[in-house]
Amino acid sequence: MLLGYALSPFGHHPDAWRQARDGRLLGFDALLDQVSAAETAGFDFVLLADRVGLRPVDDLSSVAVPFEPTLLASALATRVKRIGIVAAAVTAQHEPYNLARRFASLDLITKGRAGWMVVADGADAAREREYVDVVKTLWDSFEDDAFVYDKVAGRFFDPSKMHIAHHSRTHFSVRGPLNVNRSPQGRPVMAHLLDGGNDTLAFETGELLLLQARAAEDLVRTAGRTIKAIESAGRRREDIRILASIGPVIASAAQDMNERLELSGEDRTAQPLLATRLLGTPRMIVDQLQELKAVADLDGFTILPPTLEMGQRFVADVVPEFRQRGLINDGSDATLRDRLRLARPVHPAVSLREVSR
């Protein structure tokens, strides 16, 4: 079972910060502590979400991460060595060349543990599709074995294994090549948060699909629809990982959680993430997750702890239950792709050569 940990300084409940009241939680060290705990527990990746656009003038709510996710990802990468790091970046806020570089660099810095959570606002589907195509083409600027570092011949890379994009279509004009070495994973993993709106881009190009719904029944329905949609986009179920977002409320604490947090109904429209709330003892929660996984044909779950305390409980009480049932991946997989059991992409030039052979 695959497990993601959605990072938030206070927890994902919109009122969680009220319990915290400690500014240090917004700092790097506190965020690192959470991610280290998730890594030790055996989580496969941490998710650094982001909202679309800049903070609206009238919105004073707490947010998913206190600062820009891709740079936070880079900083975390040198301090946790196994867990994958999936960072959100909004297509409307970065030129494709800049975004491709940022994530190619991040994949080098994480040593192959980077994922891009593609945040597109859905306003112009054709533009977004072209955007993703450009980024992938730029990531293919060099073949896996392009860099030869031949000091004697003075040859840094083999020029026949460099591919200049020369992309020029409706929305973007990008010469290329990317000026970053080939990514250790071939290409960083592409993740999408499905919001039930226009998810075509995710169905056509996503590798890690993160489902969200308020109720478990909705989750089952969303998963069914997603699987149909990826298959009608001509892709195979086994080439894609589908995880559902869960907000666990672990028993004994369940009651006072409700007392402390349910009372205020703060608007959470500004929050980037939504989760299905599951209540119960650790064992009940694992039972529910296992059942949900089977019924909805999921590969795993992204955990959105409603509060920090609930995150700690999840690690301390729920994870051992997973482990007892042999559901945690304790393997020594080096890259995020390996952890997710996603195949390494074959460079298009290589597949072309194989076809013509």
Partner: protein, 438 residues
């Protein structure tokens, strides 16, 4: 009165600044894509009490011809902000200056990224503002090609103002109030509303206020508009000069512009580049230099020179003859002039000029013992040519390691460089004023 002290930056670059550094037998050829290499370099600089490390940038490969590109280690590099974010949490005092272009990014995203770097480092971030002068970069962003020099600077001026406004829009203590009333304190947030010719920004920066007020602004403008932008907005300027007279002229020129903007001489630190080639004896240093020079393929050296001269193909001219006459460039005018002057002054052929230039891309090269290098630096520092230096080691890590263990103690002994950091923010260590505080 205690003598004033020079500022030092370590300009980092994969295997070294020398164009053929990666081919040197001691070089680590994979340096450019190894984060641990860069973290180690930053830690060496920090051990040497450097004010900052600096990362250059271009949003493109640097040679159009794949054959030439494939012979240069500088063809690929980390994106500077992600590189420095990783270094930030593995260092504690050294400043972190990343280059980013005003031509190919937007103010909100850039201000937010540097704010993140500032948070991650506890107030050590700096932004080297560049306007990007290459066609190859332009071609990665639009079909319309490179904007003119004046258009680039017009955009840069508006960009800088928008970024500064975003950083200044968040006061200390704006987030997470102890009274539990709201997550953010409306009275300490000042939304930005700017609708200019190039940008429209409406909103609040998604970040707490910078621990140093705002990130340090760095510029390397050499044109009139460039120097004016630096005089108006920058805390540090980088420059390339060969002779002391050139350096003094630049120094006097940018400082003379400060008054126009109500700023004093101490508000802007002028830091020219220096490429030190250090040996226990002068002979050893010279031998080191020759060993590197011998590794430069003529085609690569000439292409680099041509790119700074903005000449399409310099190899069409006899390599052992002088430079041809050429019109002023739309790209980097100052560096073109520097090369022309150098060629005339020393009577160098194209081949000789290319080799000389390839060592440090036109920056001042000093080949000698630690004492000789300290003497040369002290002289320019004392004679109104520099407030400090951007040190460009020809080879990494050895060139930086040698500088830290041999030259830094000599500068300290003379009382012209710090023994300990003054503080933990880049602003404190540079000794430039914090905005909003007097």
């Amino acid at each position: 009165m205690s003598r004033s002290r020079m500022k030092l930056g370590a300009f980092l670059m994969a295997g070294g600044h020398h164009i053929a550094a990666w081919r040197h037998p001691d070089a680590y050829a994979q340096a450019g894509s190894d984060i641990d290499h860069f973290i180690a370099l930053a830690q060496i600089a920090e051990r040497g009490k450097f004010d900052m490390i600096f990362i250059e940038d271009a949003a493109a490969i640097r040679e159009r011809d794949p054959e030439l590109a494939s012979q240069a280690a500088r063809s690929t590099a980390f994106e500077p902000l992600s590189l420095l974010a990783a270094i930030a949490v593995n260092t504690s005092h050294v400043g972190l200056v990343a280059t980013a272009s005003t031509s190919y990014t937007e103010p909100y995203g850039l201000a937010r990224s540097f704010a993140a770097l500032d948070q991650l480092s506890g107030g050590r971030a700096g932004w080297n503002l560049v306007t990007s002068a290459s066609e190859l970069e332009a071609e990665n962003f639009a079909a319309s090609g490179l904007r003119s020099h004046s258009q680039r600077y017009e955009r840069a001026e508006e960009f800088a103002d928008a970024a500064l406004a975003l950083w200044d829009g968040v006061e200390d203590g704006a987030y997470l109030l102890s009274n539990g009333e709201a997550f953010a304190d409306r009275s300490r947030l000042h939304p930005v509303h700017r609708h200019g010719k190039h940008f429209s920004v409406d909103g609040i920066l998604e970040s707490p206020r910078s621990p140093q007020g705002r990130p340090i602004m760095v510029q390397a403008g050499a044109s009139d508009v460039g120097k004016d932008l630096a005089a108006r907005t920058a805390d540090v300027v980088f420059t390339a000069s060969q002779t002391k007279a050139e350096a003094q002229a630049y120094y006097a020129d940018v400082r003379a512009r400060l008054g126009k903007y109500g700023r004093g001489h101490g508000d802007l630190k002028v830091m020219p580049g220096i490429s030190p080639i250090i040996g226990a004896t002068e002979e050893e240093a010279k031998a080191k230099y020759r060993a590197l020079q011998d590794l430069i393929p003529d085609a690569v050296g000439v292409a680099l020179l041509a790119s700074y001269l903005s000449i399409e193909d310099l190899s069409a001219y006899p390599l052992d003859g002088p430079l041809p006459e050429m019109p002023p460039t739309n790209l980097i005018q100052s560096r073109q002039q520097l090369i022309i002057d150098l060629g005339k002054r020393e009577g160098l052929s194209i081949r000789e000029l290319a080799r000389h230039f390839a060592g440090a891309r036109g920056h001042w090269q000093v080949v000698g013992t630690p004492i000789q290098i300290a003497d040369a630096m002290e002289e320019r520092f004392a004679d109104g040519a520099a407030d400090g230096f951007n040190v460009m080691a020809p080879l990494f890590p050895s060139g930086l390691e040698d500088f830290v263990t041999l030259v830094v103690p000599e500068l300290q002994r003379r009382g012209i460089f710090r023994e300990e950091y003054e503080g933990t923010t880049l602003r404190t260590n540079l000794g430039v004023a914090q905005p909003g505080k007097s």
